[in-house]
Symmetry: D3
Subunit: 286 residues, 6 copies
């Protein structure tokens, strides 16, 4: 998995640094550490899990000081155990201490998402099923959070309202039925946009299959009904299952042939991945 281009996160980091520096910068460090003294900091995993965002997070130090030297010890997407040194940062001690929190906040967030994703992906291993995230992301961080899901072995659903059609219940009501909605949309959209319909009943499902939509989403459907749905669809369209699912649920639906299992929790409720930064003693060299 390749880390995204800095164009996707430079502003996010600068913004976070400004939040943390406020109007006077790092009072404590500036009072105690002379400018120019270089130091070494090690970023260390404090738990087991899957690493995402290491290049992104450590870019914080490069943005603060262009000649920071960053050694990345763990490739994106690798599983690590607690205690692993993830990265070694050599820069002025002030840079390391002032940038530490910003870097770790980003790394903890993204590795937390990757770790949760990997957990679910492992559960559906062996099935031809993809775990995907949703648009339930943190404001301002969608591109990075979706990257973290990919890093954990998942895939992404829509990036926004503009890159595919997803017809929901409200749209069906407004359009006067599912078939009307599908046809109304088809005449308006470009040839690259796929059409997905959220269905709540088997009748709706049959209608969607008849309209040859690209994907149907079974929304909060019971497992039994979902089994029936699989038979009805019979491979003619792609099936997505959605609605407050756990990893165990994911496995169950994968076992009956769901193509896509979407889970908002990957991005909105993954616990942070625990990391810390330890400074080596300074030796006063500049």
């Amino acid at each position: 998995m390749n880390s995204p281009h800095p164009i996707f996160f430079d502003e996010i980091i600068i913004n976070a640094l400004k939040e943390d520096f406020g109007r006077a910068g790092d009072l404590t460090t500036e009072a105690l550490v002379e400018k120019g003294i270089r130091g070494t900091g090690r970023i260390i995993a404090k738990q087991d899990g899957c690493i995402a965002g290491l290049e992104i997070a450590t870019h914080t130090f490069s943005l603060l000081e262009s000649d920071s030297e960053i050694e990345i010890m763990v490739p994106e997407g690798d599983s690590v155990s607690s205690g692993t040194v993830l990265s070694v940062v050599n820069a002025s001690a002030r840079t390391i201490l002032a940038g530490e929190r910003t870097a770790l906040n980003l790394l903890g967030l993204l590795s937390g998402i990757a770790t949760s994703t990997q957990d679910v992906v492992k559960k559906v291993k062996g099935y031809n099923t993809r775990i995907v995230c949703t648009r339930k992301t943190t404001p301002g961080l969608r591109a990075l959070e979706k990257y973290a899901v990919r890093t954990g072995g998942g895939f992404n659903h829509r990036f926004g309202l503009d890159d595919a059609v997803l017809i929901k219940e409200n749209h069906i009501t407004v359009a006067g039925g599912l078939a009307n909605a599908v046809r109304g949309v088809r005449s308006r959209i470009g040839h690259l946009a796929k059409v997905e319909v959220e269905v709540e009943t088997l009748d709706q499902l049959r209608e969607a299959v008849k309209e040859e939509v690209d994907i149907v989403m079974l929304d909060n459907m019971s497992f039994e009904t979902a089994c029936r749905a699989m038979e009805i669809v019979d491979g003619k369209v792609m099936i997505e299952v959605s609605g407050g699912l756990t990893g165990e649920d994911a496995k169950k639906y994968a076992s009956i042939g769901a193509d896509i299992i979407s889970m908002g929790s990957l991005t909105h409720s993954s616990p942070v991945f625990d990391v810390s930064l330890i400074m080596d003693p300074l030796n006063g060299s500049r």
Copy 2:
């Protein structure tokens, strides 16, 4: 609790909308709902908890359409049960459908934090102990997340590196001892900045008390040692307890007189609060 001024979140919302609208806007809604048809959406709690960010989140609709009418049904900080209608939004149907995800993402994030905070605050009720959050916040959202903690009944620790001094182990090493560090800082900072020291041993604690720091933080100290610490300090300085604490831990430390209990998890690992938006059927009026 008063909602912050929009100057703190207008850009965050606009940014989130741009993430979601991408380059072509809401393909589905624009194809199916005519411009100008007004609708009504209800934002509904799908779980019990403490509400924070309702004015912030619904401001999304006002930013999309200045004459949106937003009715706030629940004051900030109130506890609600699942099923409660939190807000009623009257605006063009396009505005409601296009802004829904952005609004709910913000509301879920902030109410999730407030709910977790309230849970811990309840546990220390009756003690003279404050639950505070840390700088472990989501990049770009610190001011809002800290507001959510206050809304849940907690308080805030430092907003950044610049509004107080927090001397950590690394600083002590660099400065050649705790007392040196405290004195070095004192001559540099303004008269409004308080000085806190993180201590790991009782000897350090005694040194900190002697230096008359404003606050000592007992970092990852065992309960037994913390009890000893309380006796040593004997009310002379403020005591903060920190380090991967649960709600139950908080109660225990509160019971022995901790003034401040700081918990990073409030902002970095609170699960989202579950909310949804239900549209009333459209009647076609404009």
Copy 3:
């Protein structure tokens, strides 16, 4: 065709106004017209064509003065003849005179694109062929220019590098052959992204069809070869024709069954649509 939400163009207009106002504003008007005197300006077509961007362009006046009254006389996408009044603007005379150039520059650009698009769309009328634009757009204006193409009756190809896969010759070389390239991409991308391949020979075409790509693009292929290509594909995949095509070319390729005809010239070389703004005499009222 619905005008895009102002979130897509507010900044573009503000930016253009700043370019024009410079550091001292409208020297001429401010010296000669008193503040607060209201006036009426009429925006008039100086040629025949298809109108796009009228709401966008006139929003300039609302951004300069929130109580500007804008009357839109012509729906987006309508054909007009020279002399048609497109919009009537009532605002302070200073607002109208200072905002005139910015508004007309936007309107001329977008209606120019819509007019060129409509010309080509008319030529393929009766065929099941879509005219689409490319990523050859003006820096900073892609969303608006693509909207203008849709307004003129065309459709959009990719909005960017991220919303579909387009494998070009360079990619094929790098990946060691077309089939390798297609398979390499398929394992990486989400379930919503379609895969298109640019082919230059009939052998490549057969390989692409075998790999069941979603679309093949015949790039700069002679008409005769394109005819052969149509027979080979035989409706199994979507066919796009591309490469410096004129309206007449479009018609020819449409007649043999091209699904998509892409033309960069729509956005990069359409001549401006000629419009002007005429002020009514002022009567001094405020």
Copy 4:
């Protein structure tokens, strides 16, 4: 002609890259080209013309990757024939492929303007007449487009509403006559701002000359009347001719002594200059 400082275009390029990268970057290239593999791309003219913006456009690659090596083969303002290699870019293959469209869009736009300008400038060669552009520029790109005109041998008229006075018919009406308008303006403006008046009749022309304005603009005046105007002015003030002029028109007016010929079409309707980027085969080295 010197290329402008990057402060004039860095943001424009970053913005254009963001338009193109969207939320997930270059799907195709990232799936097929490994990170770090360097490549070489040649930017090649596909038509004859005058080159402008080569440093600006290729700066795209430097912004994506700071150690890109850019060789500029053709000085700004030089005429080239189709097939000329304009620049050789050595950078990681991903950088070249991802930045290609953004760079070429800028180069095509600016060289298109320079080429059209040069065509007209050649026609007035030998006359003491300057070809100038107007404020009819693309929103957000005025500084660059005006630079392209200069590169093609033209000059610039006003950069905005604030750097000179241009009294138009509407202003004359408002001020109660041309002389009043000129005097009203003169008392308000700084000593560096020149005053130009647009005249439609010879009477107005005489009045303007009497008021000793710096420049008169003959707006949409017939050739015959313009000849009379030249006699009346007799070198006392500078004469500008304007109004939908072609290159041939320019020559005619130059031949009778027009000092300035202004043409909006240079910036608003110049066809793009055709360029492409060809990658050398990769050899896998990093």
Copy 5:
């Protein structure tokens, strides 16, 4: 004098408010004043002087709360005596208290400049001499500070490096003499840009006159030499006097016929104009 359009200062005010609000807003006011209670504040001059920026400064309150009611009691450029009520602001008490400092900082700065300017302008009354400011302005505030100078009765010199040519000693050296420099520039610049040359000797002055530049600047020339200079020039070109001048100096040079007297101190060293805001007692109404 007309106040500039908000497009020139909205961002400056928002930025200043963000500086002042930090990450938690107005702690004191939010703790003590309930949301929604309206109040009235009076902005009062605490010294005599010339008012500039009253609409700009009070716009702060409108930006914080769109239905703030602002009454402007004193026209821009008017002289007031200490104690004058300049503006009455009716808005929520929180808005007034939170915006007070930002508004007063702007008003004090701009009225300070206008007052200093007016003092000098009065001294040269009766002479045909203009007092102008320079490019020695506060970073980010040039347009507003130059407006304040105009409001005080002064005029503006160059707004930037791009709106006129000013050939200084360094340029003369580089170009190999004054005449060379003037000719080198003339062939490159547009027909609207005037050419000014800074001269330090009478020989240079004669050369400049011969080259028919638009303006010569006598830089730090003694009064006696300046008198000689006036005779040499004899009205053939405009004369500017510059170099650390006081108001009394200005009068002296005006008396011998200087057209322009430029003073950097107007913008870089004017003392603030003293203003305060007094709240009426609240009556608790909302």
Copy 6:
């Protein structure tokens, strides 16, 4: 004193350069100096005083041209005499000439503030009294101006409305008395925020002392009353004196034991520090 991190001033400089470059850049220099010719400029003090902002100001040249070589000859906060070379800049001659005004404007502003501050700080030497600045700063420049005060030997009061509580007369009225106000605030704010109260009478002072506030501010109190105040307080709380004070006033109040003397004039009315930049003759090398 350490110069702040560029994150605090990069945007300010870029913004100032854009103000100065306008839409066409440095007309004069670009016409006369060839690109790429390197030169040397010396920044020279034209008066005695205290230097602040030298790294900040000269960063202008690095932002214009990354390989500018900046030699800093005088540490921040040092006193210099007129004629001292402060910095030597080696860069392309165009960079030096184009960036000169922006750099000097910043340096003059900040050294002006530092010089005024140092003057006052010297007057209170020997007393245990701190000279502090206020929130009366130039919009957009607060962090830098407060840094300049520190550089001159002063300290900073509140950075904004959010980093301490300052209860003023208006707040006392609203809250129904001083004690109410103090208590109302205390229950709301975090444990790091200090509470200061502005008092105008000795009764208020006694009430404030009783409420154990952190600081009392004697606002515009006569010297005699202030003497009484000192006796009443008797070291129990910190005393700040404020209100239009001169350096001599500062000394008087320091002599009776004021802890803090706050002076708005340091940031809002310090005269600029006079500096200039002298170019060495160019030798044409590149």
